[in-house]
Amino acid sequence: MPESPLDLAARALAAVRSGDGAQATVTTERSVLLRFARSRPTQATAIDDRSVELTVVCDGHAAGATTNRTDEEGLAACARAAERAAEATARTRAYADGSPGPHPGFPAPAPLRGHAGHDAETALLDPGRGGTALEAALAAGAAHGVEAHGVWTAAETETAIASTSGVAVADRLTDAFMKVTAFAPSGRSGYAAAAATDSKALDPHSLAERAAAKACFGGPTAEAPHLEPGAYPVVLEPLAVGELVGWLGLLALNGLAFAEGASALEGRLGARVAAPQVNLSDSPRYPGTLPRAFDLDGVPKAPLPLIQDGVADRLVHDRRSAALAGGGAESTGHALAPGGSPHGPAATNLVLAGGAAADERELCRPIERGVYVTRLWYTNPVRPKETLLTGVTRDGTFLIEDGEVTRPLADLRFTDRVLGVLERAQELSARPVLTSEGEFYGRRFATGVVCPAMRVRSLRFTG
């Protein structure tokens, strides 16, 4: 019987011999990912890894060390490294009055709520299922005369935390993700993707069909003319909305950014910051999301209203940002790293509530001339405090004329404020869906935004 992550966390914690407190965080990834490009398979990757992070506090100063060696020798070496680092930090930054450093201490145990985010069949990580998915996508692509590109992936991740304050928690999650990018003979591309906790929920044929339909809209050889820069009404598909809302979480709803005066919501909590139909929350067990029971401090996750009826309500905190914010602020369960990430806390389960429109088609109807956006790409903040982003549209940009999507457009650059977009939001589609890229910049920490499509009065296109 293999050692459970929680047992390993307890064993790692026991390896710590000094300091005023410690936390052991164990993360396990088992995953399989199959890539395809130009309608043939290219790379298949299977990963089986487990790492232990030990955080040690000495006189209020924390330091950490991580290893994937889980034998006694490896854990002992990791513990010594964390201890030495914490002691060195305490020695270097000892205060003249003898007061402790800024670490807020480890949280006390708190009751957790479970979730249904683990699917036993997905956890088998059968590469054959991935192979079958690729065959279906390639066949659908061939039927439409398009080149198919994409990935199919599934993973089981486990997180366990044990601390000297008594926290002993473990969480398991499965995630599955597939995307298809179709290229038509014209060079135009279309995209469709789906993510879920159950790999059976992915429909490779349907994804390929949707991607192909976008790539071939207006005919497989139809040209995509350029649109003059300017402000246009837009309909944003959920992927594009999720991208913008995700950035809002990082830039403005981040308790550390707020405490340091870098958030666009500074002085605006309780004020209207978005259209009345915008209701945004962090909801770790919302249907369709990739659920999580606790954050990387072991603090339980609970639903948190962030923007209600367009009014800025709450921010996300880890223990570090809460301590800095003062005024009775407490962790909301959003630590991205033990002790809090230097980048601050982050929402991992954003949910933007749906609206009244049946679908994207209905959202287009009132627009005389505008732009339909499938997804955004390479978005980056230009001026974070303004939530000003720039990025480009990709894999399905179309012109809307007289309420209908009429023809493809070349990709466009936008430069606009996320809060400005939400202020100008006019209507949302009824059914929010999970949008995700399946992982988190190299670390298997699958997150996503559950959101609907959105009609916005104007989006500023700059090139």
Partner: protein, 478 residues
């Protein structure tokens, strides 16, 4: 480990068309201060083996941290299993390469992992303190970074080589806030500073504490500086911003896997095609760009890439014409090249290599110093230190913002400008290159967050640049 990998690849030879195995032990250390407090002291270590097999035209890969004969055999079986699970595809050739043998150690005068944490914190806290004092400086940060990697590579073609590399560096940043305005200033580069393939000596040479007062003063000055005007003008870029310009609009665009469409679903494609080689004009005749895995100090400098191809220096652009691609054995063979460009790199034991930049360098010109270049410019804007970047999936249409800019009038640097930005289209922009500063101004800049591949990988690469001048560029776009 050499014996284990040799045995493993011998066992794999009869079961697939090709196989290689890499043992990698990675270590990293991140130490940071923030507002005079210690913000982060973290050490990471991982080790394991990645086994890559080729069946037909597809690759299978499995990674394990079980470093026993049994553990590696299980990984080989898993790699074969995932390779076989893929739909069948016709075999494609690999460009030939003599089997790699030997050992490479990157130059390192002082092992950063042997320098005490106290010593590093003393440097960082002194620099951090040097930026504080004015209440409008809301956030001060100082960083030290170190990386080390031991690796062994073996293949079914008989390769067996070992490498040990060390990277080190850091930087400082001050964020000033007043009213609705927020401005940041960094040294020597933004986003945690500059890292080189070198030891602690590189971090020490950054002289962070010496630059701290200037960094804070410029962040404060930016709060009230006039906004960068909008329009078309002459643009001068400092070496740091130019490094990212090279990275985004030349480095990624010349990755042959992108050119061939293999990365279309994630990183994107390229505006280039294989037929453009030796024919397409990329920029002005003053544009010379190399991919050089042999230059000292570069984060893309090594003995062999991660499929055992010896480090090379190749022209990408010579006198403004496309002359090469960044390639692997598979992609090179795909367009009929005799050899790989030696650009396959993986971010650790648990990722399979993909085509990556090595050190993609804009070679120095003859324009003298930056002061000479400014003196030679009648009217324009000098932009310094990257703040934001974005480019489309074909690497054509880009937009950058920098931390600071200076108005240039009559050959003199005049007013400081806030919120500078510029945009362009890659070949048009590089066609406007009319001066590159001389070799004395040329240096390598580390980029430590280059993302690519699925599963995602973050790679460290470098770009050698000297300040340069571009004519007729759209500025003030955001």
């Amino acid at each position: 480990m050499r014996d284990l990998l040799t045995e493993l690849t011998q066992a794999a030879a009869a079961r697939c068309d090709y196989a290689d195995a890499r043992y990698v032990r990675s270590r990293s250390e991140s130490i940071a201060t923030r507002n005079g407090e210690v913000d982060e002291v973290e050490r990471h270590e991982s080790e394991g083996v990645g086994v890559r097999v080729r069946r037909g035209g597809g690759w299978g890969f499995a990674a394990t941290r079980e470093l026993t004969r049994t553990g590696l055999e299980v990984a080989l079986l898993r790699a074969l299993e995932v390779a076989e699970a893929q739909p069948g595809s016709p075999a494609t050739p690999l460009a030939p390469e003599p089997p790699a043998h030997g050992r490479y150690d990157s130059p390192c005068e002082r092992d950063p992992f042997e320098v005490s944490i106290e010593d590093k914190l003393a440097v960082l806290l002194a620099a951090d303190d040097g930026m504080r004092g004015d209440a409008r400086v809301a956030v001060t940060r100082a960083h030290h970074l170190a990386f080390a990697e031991d690796s062994v590579f073996a293949s079914t073609e008989g390769a067996l080589c070992e490498q040990f590399i060390v990277d080190c560096g850091g930087g400082i940043a001050a964020t000033a806030v007043a009213g609705g305005e927020t401005q940041v200033r960094s040294h020597p580069a933004s986003f945690r500073g500059d890292v080189a393939r070198a030891g602690y000596e590189h971090f020490a040479e950054l002289a962070l504490a010496e630059h701290a007062p200037r960094v804070a003063e410029e962040a404060l000055a930016l709060l009230t500086a006039p906004a960068c005007p909008s329009g078309r003008t002459t643009l001068l870029l400092d070496g740091g911003q130019l490094a990212l310009q090279v990275h985004e609009s030349v480095g990624h665009a010349t990755e042959l896997d992108r050119v061939l469409g293999s990365e279309a679903s994630y990183a994107g494609t390229s505006f280039l095609s294989p037929g453009d080689l030796d024919d397409r004009r990329y920029g002005s005749p003053r544009m010379h760009v190399t991919a050089d895995a042999t230059v000292a100090g570069g984060l893309g400098t090594f003995g062999w890439d991660d499929e055992g191809v010896a480090a090379r220096r190749v022209d990408l652009v010579r006198e403004g014409v496309l002359r090469g691609f960044l390639s692997s054995r598979e992609s090179a063979a795909g367009i009929g090249l005799e050899r790989s460009g030696g650009c396959m790199r993986a971010s650790g034991f648990d990722r399979q290599p993909v085509v990556r930049m090595t050190n993609v360098n804009l070679e120095p010109g003859e324009a003298g110093s930056l002061a000479d270049l400014v003196a030679d410019t009648d009217r324009g804007v000098l932009m310094e230190t990257n703040r934001s970047w974005s480019i489309d999936s074909r690497r054509l249409h880009f937009q950058f913002a920098t931390e600071a800019a200076w108005e240039i009038e009559g050959g003199e640097r005049r007013r400081l400008l806030r919120n500078p930005s510029y945009a362009g289209v890659t070949p048009e922009f590089w066609a406007g290159l009319d001066a590159v500063c001389s070799a004395d101004e040329w240096r390598l800049w580390g980029v430590i967050n280059c993302g690519k591949g699925e599963p995602g990988q973050t790679m460290r690469v470098s770009h050698g640049t000297a300040p340069a001048r571009f004519r007729d560029v759209q500025v003030g776009v955001a």
